[in-house]
């Protein structure tokens, strides 16, 4: 038994036109007609779509539906809800948490789906073939009609005749019919930001050219997030904007010897200015995102003070955002960015030895040197060493992380990933250690000022104490983690991957 086939009409088609195309003995009857509005939702990256799912809202019924491999119940839809945590808890919000985390889901396309089930009947008025017309009308989608044509058992001949008739109506067969294919065939444009983690580096490329090319790409990537910051869609836009600028800055300073001192100075200063504009906003975002985390640390009697603190921070965040938005829309900002691109695009100066070195060779040298430095610095850290040294080690680890991540394509991504996994254990530990001190510092900043209520102060002090204890605990794990990362096995792995033979490095 053949199953249904799916067709797309290149021009709109009506039941009357279908009947006309059929042989006389068959007629076409409209069974019913219904239509519903449909809003396609996703985040900036199209995470839901990329995972094979589809999030849609029906504005009339006020329902939000996530279609994934298995069936999950719909939830009420309201345009104000843009994050998984704003939805009623349950399967749908759980899945969105997995797929989107901190990203907001926003309307991507709006359309109406008109469904028209038809019956092809014979002279006994017996249904011999079923046709379901689906028309997609969209504001930003071209209108298009699709048909699902289902044979009825025992009526194969009539099915064939119907298909022949429909082929006269300029239709083309399509693969299947879920809403995703329908939307795609109807012209939905999937446009995630460009975030490829590969730079298509040539191992022999001279370092100066390679570094400028990479740093420029990062700035281009960062700029993709500007609009989302302006629209304040979610906190990830600022975050990703900053991450890319920071990567660009680190790359420049890691390879400072490949650049002329004028170019280096200009790039360093300007990238720093670019990044620092969003410092306040990001700090406030981080604090606000951690609301639950902070509240869990405090006893009930200190919660009122905490509420006051958060109200204050939210106000400050609104102000900080305004400032960022204004600066992004400023002509001066545009000029800065233009200048940065100019700096990246200038012809290489080839002033230093390093500027002309093949990039692969230079990176290999740097990775080994950086690992050596971490081993040496780590070696002198014990339980009593002042925090300063631990913070410095964190920064050195971060540099190594950048080197490994940014250039993994030159050394085999799989092998490098393994090394990153080793590094990550130590980094996570150092990162938490640092987070606690940053949080304490942020909180102590909040405790200054005449307007601070006694309740707020009590909450802040309570939190600071808890954080201090957590930091002590984290500190107690550092030595063991350093030992793990500097163990002979890991050393060997670094040697194997990065100690290039002369042949390779030439």
């Amino acid at each position: 038994m053949t199953s249904a086939t799916y067709w797309k009409f290149t021009t709109a088609v009506t039941p009357a036109e279908i009947e006309q195309a059929l042989p006389k003995k068959l007629r076409c009857r409209v069974l019913e007609k219904s239509s519903r509005g449909l809003i396609v939702l996703d985040d900036f990256h199209w995470h839901i779509w990329q995972s094979g799912g589809l999030l849609t809202a029906d504005p009339q019924q006020g329902l939000l539906n996530l279609s994934i491999a298995k069936e999950i119940p719909t939830v009420p839809y309201s345009p104000e809800n843009r994050f998984w945590w704003q939805l009623p808890s349950g399967a749908l919000s759980d899945h969105l948490r997995e797929l989107l985390d901190l990203h907001a889901f926003v309307p991507k396309a709006e359309c109406r789906l008109i469904s028209e089930p038809l019956a092809i009947i014979n002279s006994d008025e017996k249904i011999v073939t079923r046709v379901k017309l689906l028309t997609l009308n969209g504001e930003n989608l071209p209108s298009s009609t699709f048909a699902e044509i289902s044979p009825l058992r025992g009526y194969g001949d009539d099915y064939t005749v119907t298909l022949q008739a429909l082929s006269l109506l300029s239709s083309v067969e399509v693969e299947s019919f879920d809403l995703r294919t329908l939307l795609l065939a109807g012209g939905l444009h999937i446009d995630p930001p460009d975030e490829k983690d590969s730079f298509l580096l040539n191992p022999a490329e001279p370092a100066e050219a390679a570094i400028c090319k990479m740093a420029k790409r990062m700035l281009v990537t960062a700029r993709q997030y500007e609009q989302g910051i302006v629209e304040d869609i979610d906190t990830e836009f600022v975050h990703q904007y900053r991450v890319n600028i920071r990567k660009s800055r680190s790359l420049i300073s890691l390879f400072k010897k490949t650049l002329s001192s004028e170019r280096l100075q200009a790039l360093k200063t300007e990238l720093k200015v670019l990044g620092s504009r969003t410092n306040d906003l990001r700090d406030l975002d981080v604090f606000l995102l951690d609301e639950d985390y902070y509240r869990e640390m405090l006893p009930a009697e200190l919660q009122t003070g905490m509420t006051q603190v958060f109200t204050r921070i939210k106000r400050r965040r609104t102000m900080a955002l305004k400032k960022v938005v204004a600066s992004l829309q400023d002509d001066a900002y545009q000029a800065e960015v233009d200048h940065l691109f100019e700096l990246f695009d200038t012809e290489p100066d080839w002033l230093s030895k390093q500027s002309q070195m093949p990039i692969q060779q230079l990176v290999a040298k740097k990775v080994l040197a950086q690992y050596q430095r971490i081993c040496a610095n780590g070696d002198i850290i014990d339980e009593q060493t002042p925090d300063e040294a631990v913070h410095d080690l964190r920064i050195e680890c971060k540099k190594l992380r950048y080197l490994l991540e940014l250039f993994s394509e030159l050394f085999g991504k799989k092998k490098v990933k393994q090394l990153i996994r080793h590094l990550k254990g130590l980094q996570d530990n150092l990162g938490r250690f640092n987070d606690f001190s940053v949080q304490r510092e942020f909180l102590s900043g909040l405790g200054i000022g005449k307007t601070i209520s006694a309740e707020q102060l009590a909450s802040i002090n309570g939190l600071t104490a808890v954080l201090f204890n957590k930091q002590l605990h984290e500190r107690s794990l550092v030595v063991a983690n350093i030992d793990k990362f500097t163990a002979p096995g890991v050393r060997d792995e670094f040697q194997q991957i990065f100690a290039l033979s002369d042949e390779e490095s030439s």
Binding site: A119, D124, E125, K126, I127, L152, R153, G154, Y155
Partner: protein, 249 residues
């Protein structure tokens, strides 16, 4: 897979009307249902607007292999419901059965192969007590017997009981129910009461006399399609629910 026959020795008692509406409700309740129109008159085929291709004597093949049955299946206009239309050659079932051999489980064997595709087979039977009838009794899990509450019908039902006893069929297969019951007629009321007393296994639900059943001929559809809210429709639905509980039990 269960097999349900709508059977009576007597003609015109509502076998076909019952087969059609019960098949419809079974399908609507989610049973993958096949209605096999064994009556060469083709009444239930007519109600479902299906026709048999003009092929010679496929009745003979029907009795030989289920593969032949599957070839004749027509999908109805309703979800889950297929129909095997009647064929003129079905007139000669009895002769055929004689030719093929005296085995009484030919039909049963032909139906067995349908197990994978259907949950329920409903047989609309011609009014006969013959070799075909024996095949039907053998193949069926339940033999539904429409009984008009009149003296004459009571007698035919008794004949059927006797036949079952003689042939050693399990009486438990028999599920009689009243059709065309007319509450205004004293005779109907009295006969029904008396029979229910004697035969405790009569189904609780009865089908009243109703022009809506007759109208099936005009609309060529189950009653639910054109007289949804009417008593006859509700009665067939209730009857189906009662039968369903017996199928499950």
């Amino acid at each position: 897979m269960k097999v349900l026959a709508c059977y009576s020795i007597k003609g015109g008692v509502g076998k076909t009307a019952s087969a059609v509406n019960l098949a419809y409700w079974a399908a609507k309740s989610g049973y993958r249902t096949l209605l096999l129109d064994l009556d060469s008159q083709g009444a239930s085929s007519f109600y479902f607007r299906v026709k048999s291709p003009v092929k010679k004597n496929w009745g003979k093949r029907l009795l030989k292999a289920y593969g032949e049955v599957l070839k004749q299946v027509k999908e109805s206009d309703y979800k889950n419901l297929d129909v095997v239309p009647a064929h003129l050659s079905f007139r000669n079932f009895d002769i055929l059965l004689d030719e093929i051999g005296k085995r009484k489980n030919r039909l049963s064997q032909a139906l067995k192969g349908l197990k994978k595709e259907y949950d329920l087979i409903i047989l609309d039977c011609p009014p006969t007590i013959s070799r075909l009838a024996e095949n039907i009794f053998n193949a069926s899990d339940i033999v539904l017997v429409p009984v008009i509450p009149t003296t004459l019908s009571e007698r035919t039902f008794e004949q059927l009981l006797k036949f079952f006893k003689q042939q050693d069929y399990s009486r438990k297969k028999l599920l009689p129910f009243f059709t065309m019951a007319d509450g205004r007629k004293q005779l109907h009321r009295e006969t029904a009461t008396a029979m229910r007393k004697r035969y405790k296994y009569f189904l609780k639900h009865a089908i009243p006399y109703s022009t809506d059943v007759e109208k099936m001929g005009k609309y060529r559809a189950p009653i639910d399609i054109f007289a949804r809210g009417r008593l006859a429709n509700k009665s067939y639905f209730a009857l189906w629910k009662e039968i369903e509980s017996k199928l499950e039990g």
